[in-house]
């Protein structure tokens, strides 16, 4: 189980490839992998967004993400899980978050992956400040799904 906060742009597929290469043999019993990638869009609430700053609470953010992943591991019997989340300055088209889970069967993989991204959005300490044409604004509510 790995949680990474990432200061600069990352490629979700290169990270997944590398992560799987390094998996221990006893973990490589997985039959199902479910992955979610969240990408920054150039449009939010009807406005064009040129970039955003993602603030976090160093220490608590990692701890909270670790708890979410540990609870999911126990509940769905995950073989492995990887969460990568950007912090800092992000531009449209860049990946914000990657959640990947490896399980024996697909039902658990879908449920656990969905659970992790929902828990992350609602409880992990991240705050978005967008830069739009008219200036900057904090985004203080989550989209539901």
């Amino acid at each position: 189980m790995t949680v990474i906060l990432c200061q600069s742009s990352f490629s979700p597929y290169a990270e997944l490839e590398a992560y799987q290469q390094l998996m221990a043999d006893d973990v490589k019993r997985y039959g199902a992998t479910t992955i979610f990638v969240g990408t920054m869009r150039d449009l939010n609430l009807g406005d064009e967004v040129t970039h955003m700053n993602l603030e976090h609470y160093p220490g608590m953010t990692e701890r909270q993400l670790g708890q979410i992943v540990s609870e999911a591991q126990a509940r769905w019997d995950l073989l492995d899980a990887l969460v990568i989340h950007r912090v800092g300055e992000i531009t449209p088209g860049e990946s914000i978050v990657l959640v990947a889970v490896w399980t024996l069967h697909r039902g658990a993989a879908f449920e656990a992956c969905r659970h992790i991204i929902e828990a992350l959005k609602h409880t992990a300490p991240f705050w978005k400040k967008e830069t739009i044409k008219d200036g900057e604004r904090w985004v203080e509510s989550n989209t539901e799904g």
């Binding site: 603030e55 609470y57 701890r63 991204i117 992350l120 609602h122 409880t123 991240f126 705050w127 989209t143």
Partner: protein, 79 residues
């Protein structure tokens, strides 16, 4: 007693500072900490609190050396 108080995001901007270090003797709960840093006001409804990097409510106990944080609703993940 010494309490470190931290602020994040829009609250940090409203407070005009990133943290405070309290040395009061009469602090027992998170609500007491907020009163000490905000001229006696109650904690606004939408604000979230953490003690030592774990979510906590206004009645949670605060001890010497604790780190207390206040912040607005989180907006993690992708849209």
């Amino acid at each position: 007693m010494t309490i470190k108080v931290r602020y994040f995001a829009s609250l940090r901007e409203k407070m005009g500072r990133i943290d405070d270090t309290l040395v009061y003797e009469n602090i027992a709960t998170v609500a007491d900490v907020w009163r000490a840093v905000s001229s006696g006001r109650p904690i606004p409804d939408h604000l979230l609190c953490a003690v030592n990097m774990e979510y906590a409510d206004a009645q949670a106990e605060v001890k010497d050396g604790d780190e207390v944080a206040f912040f607005p609703p989180v907006t993690g993940g992708a849209r």
